[in-house]
Symmetry: C2
Subunit: 462 residues, 2 copies
Amino acid sequence: MTELQAVLSSIVGKKHVICDPAELLVYESDGLTIHRATPRAVVFVTSTLEVSRVVACLHEHNIPFVARGAGTGLSGGAVPLSQAVIIEMSKMRRILDINYVDRTAVVETGLVNIELSRAIESSGLFYAPDPSSQTVCTIGGNIAENAGGPHCLKYGPTVNHVLALKVVLPNGQIVELSGTEHFGYDLAGLFVGSEGTLGIATEATLRLTPLPEAIRTLLADFPTTTAASQAVSTIISSGILPAALEMMDFVTINAVEDSVYAAGLPRDAAAVLIIELDGEQAEVTEQAEAVTAICRSKGSREVKLAVTPQERAKVWAGRKGAFGAMGRIRPNLMVQDAVIPRSRLPEVLDEIYRIAERYQLCISNVFHAGDGNLHPNISYDGRDADEVKRVKQACEEIMRLCVNQGGSITGEHGVGMDKLDYLPLIFTEDDLHVMACIRTCFNPQGLANPGKTIPMLRCKAY
Amino acid sequence: MTELQAVLSSIVGKKHVICDPAELLVYESDGLTIHRATPRAVVFVTSTLEVSRVVACLHEHNIPFVARGAGTGLSGGAVPLSQAVIIEMSKMRRILDINYVDRTAVVETGLVNIELSRAIESSGLFYAPDPSSQTVCTIGGNIAENAGGPHCLKYGPTVNHVLALKVVLPNGQIVELSGTEHFGYDLAGLFVGSEGTLGIATEATLRLTPLPEAIRTLLADFPTTTAASQAVSTIISSGILPAALEMMDFVTINAVEDSVYAAGLPRDAAAVLIIELDGEQAEVTEQAEAVTAICRSKGSREVKLAVTPQERAKVWAGRKGAFGAMGRIRPNLMVQDAVIPRSRLPEVLDEIYRIAERYQLCISNVFHAGDGNLHPNISYDGRDADEVKRVKQACEEIMRLCVNQGGSITGEHGVGMDKLDYLPLIFTEDDLHVMACIRTCFNPQGLANPGKTIPMLRCKAY
């Protein structure tokens, strides 16, 4: 047993420390498998105090660390660079308090996203942020990446639902950070989306949302992605704010229909929109009529209404299973993430397909159209070095395209390791300096999740 | 002419620098007149570049500064402590860009809040945050204090409407900070509510909101504040989210009715609620019926509907003019600000009236009941030293009461100078340490708005 292993075992118990190389393999990457690194050890923690003691110990030994929830992130955020120790949060999954009157919940951050909504469903509430991975991903990972999801169009991403956080700072100190409901510096807001570089959130006070009285889920097919994009713009500019407004293109539709997630999507459509409306009965009925008319006027052949909860669930299973379904096309999938002004959808989608053609790659699009959050996905074979090179080149062109159209390099998956090189497309040296200062202020030794979010060299320079 | 005056004049022109003691008097306080200090000079700026050059010059000379918009703040945030130079933003009031498709506006921060909504009204949009002072207060002041307003119940406070900021850092450097729509550290979110201590925002990219199709404004009277509070809780827990849900108590009602803002409020009611519903026609009609039934069931004698836009305007003029109307009661008014869980309204209001009795003070309540944001207002005579002492004691008791009930020491007016002493009621030493670190990282010399938001001694200590 190494000295580190002994010290960590004295805090969390021997069975909660993994150092066996074979077992460590599992923790080499997150959901975006192109980035890999082996951790020095994995430590399972069960309380804030344990996290604090483990972090204080690592701080004392100058050993880097990274918290890990379910490892479903798509930007390499949980990859243990610099031989970091992984602090495994999955045992911290208790719901500590639910206040039904004030509509708040206090949870441990290893809790799986969907578990919170399940626990409060019978009281007419839900937790709104719903990443596609919500059946497995954790609240802590959602906080680290400021996770979105289809319903964030109406309800906003994670940051809008976090009221306060209990955080272990990189020196082991435990602090409470409060959000915009409070006053002074919005430190909870700063922490959400900081990708583990400012410390580890162990408990979160979350906002709960009343379940809508009525839900209508529409499925509209289109002869071109441009027609579908125009329908998106027209719906939003009509003043209707759907709960979700998603687009799936031809390749995605067919991958889904070939898979276990088959949802009865029209295989010959260039694109489908999933438009979910929620609110009061009268309101959603009226909105569903208006949306149907808009889709028709933009060339939709058929606008189908998912009537029963089962039909609704099937449509969403198809949408949320799309990334999994892509596995049928090629062995590897690069799930890209970018954001553009909604008004630029037609041009940008056309240009993405041209980039695919130029690099001879299979690019499919399945994304949150309502808020301009693109997910161009590249299916490839990781064993083909030339193809991997073309994937990287295409990604870079897509990033430049989105930035040139007034957009940005990530919408909801975070910077992680994957987007570090693109930061200068968006930020000046001075802008990055400010970020580096913030990081240094929380994380002076750079031990908390090194190599993510902002370039490390910069952090060291300031 | 002093050397400072000469240097500043060389940047902004002689007529834009005020050093005459008589003219400086105007800038001694903001809307909360109990805190006063004389600035060293006042500088009118007209562009980001000028702000940058002025700030760089002050930084070089180690002279503190504070930006000032309309000076309507209610926590002493714009008071020039340490003989700070006031950077007067009112000439920077251009709307630089409006994008109707993506619903964003880029404005200079000296712009008066209402001017933005006026400029876009004809295109069916508005800027949602609406502090009572919105006809005079500036976007920059709103950003500094993360200002709220009645309609923030539904639409959220300023931070939810700021997408990006151009900021002059305390050393004169110009940076762009982006918000949660972007990625990485949410520095725009951190900046909103930082009360001038991290730099000066000169341009803001703001979110615009579609005007609702229909609005219903209801006025319901109640025999007790407890009955009104119960109606508030029942409305919210029924799942209805009004655009605004305001309470005015007996003293406030009568002060308003005696003033130019008279809105036909029932003088014999213990409290009235103003409940504004917005959305689609069918939805608001249904909600108005439900709200009326709830108010009746809680003992409301009459629920009046403001039918015409003129009637609506009259109700809101009464509500927003309430602070001005209080001038009739006593020469001075302490507008307090605190927040409590909505479910605690009855107990807390009762206890506030008991505190008033104990200290023989006239306390009235007019506030955002829907989100538990209290404004207990104390009318007093500033020339009566004993009464001033009792005002301070009562304020402290009210703060402790709100914190003990799970609330906080300010809801929307900020910490400024006024709430500094109450911070330890909410935060531990460690929590305050983190805030001090953040401040030091942006503002190492403590030149940007010294003596606000967090205790200065702490900042110097770290």
